[in-house]
């Protein structure tokens, strides 16, 4: 008794000439299918690229949630392209998308695969991501000095912008954390605190010099300057950060509250003559941002 084939159809005896013709047809079908799939893959790659650019545009306009959704969609599209036709370009795009979704390990892997398929620059990016991942795991295990050293190397010598920015951010956080945790007697503490702050300030200033239009660096600078009680300068940096754009709603709101905090501190400390000029300057920003009052940002409800 003959068994049905895997498709559930019964085998039928066919003349050998027809069987041979069937192989030819099959080959032809495979050939056309390959051409079709290649065409599909390249048009899907193009679609994924377009979606990636759209996600970047949304991110630049501070529509973070929509940008995240667009990056997720791009990642799905590009994964489908890769499963049909892996290429260096596709893996590179996948890696870039994963960086924007903070999927650092996945991005490192994608860049490695991109490099192995001929995208040379991806190799260096993968290395930087590996170092960043290493620094993060050292930090999670409490090895602060080692992680600080690694972040420092990346902040200074890194070439891949997202890793450099994230490293500068982590460095500042670690320095400020040391400041907050400090529990020495007052005088010794103040000296040490000033040293830590000077280091943090130098670190961010260097980053600003390298990328002056990065709003996030100005935000970090505003945070450090507030620790130094330089509210005038902190306010200026926070305003600059707001104008240049920030990477998330959370940071955006925190920056607004930083602006208000500095405004209130300056209100208390400035001399009457300086105060008038300062208020006029500050109110012109408030008007531009359409805040209801000097101390109420547009998103504040309660």
């Amino acid at each position: 008794m003959k068994k049905p084939d895997s498709s559930g159809c019964k085998n039928k005896l066919r003349p050998s000439s027809l069987t041979g013709g069937g192989s030819g047809l099959k080959l032809l079908a495979v050939f056309f299918a390959l051409i079709f799939l290649t065409g599909c893959a390249s048009s899907s790659l193009l679609k994924a690229k377009t979606d990636y650019l759209q996600a970047e545009r949304l991110q630049r306009s501070l529509r973070q949630e929509e940008a995240t959704a667009a990056y997720k969609r791009t990642r799905q599209e590009i994964s489908a392209v890769i499963s049909r036709k892996p290429s260096g370009e596709a893996y590179l795009l996948k890696g870039l998308t994963e960086v924007n979704l903070n999927l650092w390990e996945e991005a490192e892997n994608s860049f490695r695969l991109a490099a192995s398929l001929g995208e040379d620059k991806a190799q260096a990016w993968a290395e930087e991501l590996r170092l960043f991942g290493l620094a993060r795991s050292f930090e999670a295990q409490g090895w602060t000095e080692t992680s600080t050293r690694l972040y420092g190397i990346l902040a200074e010598k890194g070439k891949y912008q997202p890793v450099v920015r994230a490293s500068v951010g982590r460095l500042v956080d670690l320095r400020l954390k040391a400041l907050v945790d400090f529990s020495e007697p007052l005088e010794a503490a103040q000296k040490e605190k000033n040293k830590i702050l000077a280091e943090a300030l130098k670190m961010v200033e260097r980053a600003v010099e390298q990328e002056p239009a990065c709003g996030y660096y100005h935000y970090l600078l505003a945070q450090v300057l507030a620790h130094q009680k330089d509210y005038n300068q902190s306010l200026e940096e926070a305003v600059m950060a707001k104008e240049l754009g920030l990477p998330s709603e959370e940071i955006w709101r925190d920056n607004d509250l930083q602006i208000i905090f500095c405004y209130e501190q300056l209100e208390k400390s400035l001399q009457p003559a300086e105060l008038t000029a300062f208020r006029a300057r500050y109110n012109s920003w408030v008007k531009k941002w359409k805040w209801p009052t000097e101390t109420t940002p547009d998103w504040k409800r309660s």
């Binding site: 949630e65 929509e66 400020l176 954390k177 620790h227 009680k229 709603e249």
Partner: protein, 196 residues
């Protein structure tokens, strides 16, 4: 009439979302509330917003704010000044900083999910309880949301609710009024279900 319609809508919406969570889950009302607030704010992707929660809730910079910023935060809000008067009087920065970690995202940054998660405590002005339970309640809520990631139907369901909400025209209400009505209706629903 419109109030009744809104109440019916919210009851139905709560019924839909509740099915995705275990009985008595603390998450579904905050999630529904966030879905409607985000719908009004024309935010694109609710799933992205919710999956971004972890990033939102762990801003390292919040832990490292200067003492003056923390003091200013507590002194600038009469309810917080009253609750933490002793700590403020004695300048107990360590305890204030601990409470600030929880209260700044809720009261300062006004994150809608957190505001709803702790809506009862906010209404009662029980800020000490928020500070004390922040980590555990949040972990529980995030774990439950993570568990729903496998339920792919949840996000389209929430999106539909948001879109229906917009199509019914309530988005034209002033946002504080909308939030107050949402809260009142959702909490009323919750109470009715508890009684049943």
């Amino acid at each position: 009439m419109a109030g009744k319609k809104l109440e019916t809508f919210l009851k139905q919406a709560a019924g839909v979302v509740q099915d995705f969570f275990p009985a008595g889950s603390p998450v579904f009302i905050p999630l529904l509330y966030s879905a409607l607030v985000w719908a009004v704010k024309r935010k694109g992707d609710l799933e992205a917003e919710v999956s971004g929660l972890k990033l939102w809730l762990e801003p390292e910079i919040v832990n490292n704010k200067p003492d003056e910023f923390i003091l200013d935060f507590f002194k600038g809000d009469p309810a917080l000044t009253g609750t933490f008067s002793l700590e403020l009087k004695n300048r107990e920065i360590k305890s204030l900083r601990q409470a600030f970690r929880a209260l700044y995202p809720v009261k300062g940054l006004e994150e809608p999910f957190l505001q709803s998660l702790f809506s009862e405590e906010i209404a009662k002005g029980d800020y000490r309880l928020i500070a004390a339970q922040f980590d555990s309640r949040l972990r529980l809520a995030l774990d439950e949301i993570k568990a729903t990631e496998k339920q792919l139907e949840l996000w389209p369901a929430l999106k539909d609710i948001g879109e229906n909400f917009l199509s019914l025209g309530w988005a034209l209400m002033a946002e504080p009024e909308l939030r107050a009505r949402l809260k009142a209706n959702l909490e009323k629903n919750e109470q009715t279900e508890e009684e049943e």
